[in-house]
Amino acid sequence: MLAAYPEGRKRSAVVPMLIYAQDETGAVTPELIAEVAKRCEVEPLQVDEVVGYYSMLHRKPLGKYHVQVCTNISCLLVGGEELYEHAKKKLGIGNKQVTADGQFSLEEVECMGACSWAPAVEINYDFHHYVTPERLDQLIDALRKAN
């Protein structure tokens, strides 16, 4: 990853390195910040200040399955908000919360680029289009069963 950037510009890898690392560790911890800072040859503070800016970077672990429901305009018009309310009930948690067993977390997200196939849900990095409450139930039940 570091080799992609011009000589002396290792700092450029900070954001991708953080997100790829977070996928493995589950959260951006102080240890992870220190490691990224070392590899990118910057101060830990320069990594820390980036973490707060990007909405996909989290200091606390999310659920094993992070359910992201879009309620932005295109989804809103075709039931995105109802879908989000349904997801809250189904999982028994609110926005950016994690279920007690650590399996699921929920987030109301901004436009994820699935407007023409709305309403859309992204679970971890998997997109689901034209999602109805029933379809969401099926997706969540299947993931529960898989455990």
Binding site: A4, P6, R9, R11, S12, A13, V14, V15, P16, L18, I19, Y20, C40, V42, Q46, E49, V50, Y53, Y54, S55, M56, L57, T71, N72, I73, S74, L76, L77, V78, V109, E110, C111, M112, G113, A114, C115, S116, W117, A118, E122, Y125, D126, F127, H129
Partner: protein, 435 residues
């Protein structure tokens, strides 16, 4: 097996950039080579950089990210004889609400994009490119990485590309969730490992962009159009559209239509025909109320304003923008207070906070709209929404402040009755909005 598409194509489309979508293994290099792939690059190699830029100018291609700036002109600003390294940066941070087209161009035809980038490299004398893809599109980052790997293994990236002596390296770079990083200078800061904060312009990225070097920055769709322009000639591409609005574009139709989808239509295509014929009209025979013509940043058009051709200049004359091609259709049942609130919740969330008019303006507008939606709106709030929005216009480093203000101004002015209806039905006493 042909590739499964997210929506059925329409027979009314003019397929140029999307002509390989739906072919068996359309994303593979072999498929691309069997369908005109890399002919344009080889042709461009025989041209001078000036001739390439001239051809792009002739095509009347305008930036497909949202601003609609003439691409050839942008290309001509990069000082290609500069002793500094030059970079090509591709904006794949597609995040404008209503927009979902760059996804398809990367998913179904990544090699068309790669060829467009290489042609830009020839024209700029650049040898490195960075494809900045939003973090939510991880599957596309992996997918594009595989396509890049395939291009390297067959000699279409790397050293001595296709035996022409031209070298070019291309890398993907993941974002991590920030609408602001779609703004080109914020994107460059993010690429450099910082918070995505817009830069003061000038200097423009063409002169001092990535790592303070001359940088050409365009949207995925813009680069994807380039091989078609070079192969068939700029004039042929221009002829598909209207004067100064060349070619076709991928229009993302969403909201209240029977057949939402991404459809490739020539510039100047009639808006009502797109809604009623391409996208199959409005469900339940309901009436059209409004259209967001090109992503959530654009002023809305009322139904009676929609009988126009969709090109940049006509939309500007109508007081809106063609934007990113994200066209959202609203039927007569749409509650404009709720709609305005959702737009403002988005901008308040995404404002990077660098410029006070944007940071404070979006927050206060969100609070006032929320109060209205909760049933506590006041009559004097209606002009305040317009005034606060107007005070944001032109007072920020980047266009996010304007992007939040413009749709709000249009909604308050054009759909005032929706706000007044809420006043009549105000369900509870108005509470003060506090910080």
């Amino acid at each position: 097996m042909p590739t499964t598409l997210y929506n059925e194509p329409s027979p009314l489309e003019t397929k140029v950039l999307s002509k390989r979508f739906g072919l068996e293994n359309s994303h593979r290099l072999d498929t691309y080579l069997a369908h005109d792939g890399f002919k344009a690059f080889l042709k461009a190699r025989q041209m001078t950089p000036e001739q390439i830029v001239e051809e792009v100018k002739t095509s009347a291609l305008r930036g497909r990210g949202g601003a609609g700036f003439p691409t050839g002109l942008k290309w001509s600003f990069v000082p290609r004889t500069s002793p500094k390294p030059k970079y090509i940066v591709i904006n794949a941070d597609e995040s404008e609400p209503g927009t979902c087209k760059d996804r398809l161009l990367m998913e179904y035809d990544p090699h068309q994009l790669i060829e467009g980038i290489l042609i830009a490299g020839l024209a700029m004398d650049a040898h490195k490119g960075y494809l900045y893809i939003r973090g939510e599109y991880r599957y596309l980052i992996d997918h594009t990485d595989r396509a890049i790997g395939e291009a390297y293994s067959k000699g279409y990236l790397g050293k001595n590309i296709a035996g022409t002596g031209f070298d070019f390296d291309l890398y993907t770079h993941s974002g991590a969730g920030a609408y602001e990083c779609g703004e080109e200078t914020a994107l460059l800061d993010s690429l450099e490992g910082k918070r995505g904060i817009p830069r003061m312009k000038p200097p423009f990225p063409a002169v001092a962009g990535a790592w303070a070097s001359p940088t050409l920055l365009n949207n995925v769709e813009t680069f994807s159009a380039v091989p078609n322009i070079i192969r068939d000639g700029g004039a042929a591409f221009a002829a598909l559209g209207t004067p100064k609005n060349g070619g076709t574009r991928l229009v993302c139709i969403s909201g209240h239509v029977n057949k939402p989808g991404v459809y490739e239509l020539p510039l100047g295509y009639p808006m009502l025909k797109a809604i009623y014929e391409v996208a199959g009209g409005i469900p339940g025979g309901k009436k059209l109320k409004a259209v967001v013509p090109g992503g959530s940043s654009c002023p809305l058009l009322k139904a009676e304003e929609c009988d126009i051709p969709m090109d940049y200049d006509t939309l500007a004359k109508a007081g809106s923008m063609l934007g990113s091609g994200g066209m959202v259709v609203l039927d007569e049942t749409t509650d404009m207070v709720k709609f305005a609130l959702r737009i403002m919740r988005f901008y308040a969330h995404e404002s990077c906070g660098w410029c006070i008019p944007c940071r404070e303006g979006t927050t206060w507008l969100r609070k006032i709209l929320q109060r209205f939606d909760d049933g506590g709106g006041r009559k004097e709030d209606i002009p305040v929404l317009g005034e606060v929005s107007k005070n944001m216009l032109g007072r920020t480093f980047c266009a996010l402040g304007d992007a939040a203000a413009m749709p709000t101004i249009s909604i308050v002015e054009k759909f005032r009755e929706d706000f007044e209806k809420r006043l009549a039905g105000a369900s509870r006493a108005s509470e003060l909005v506090t910080v």
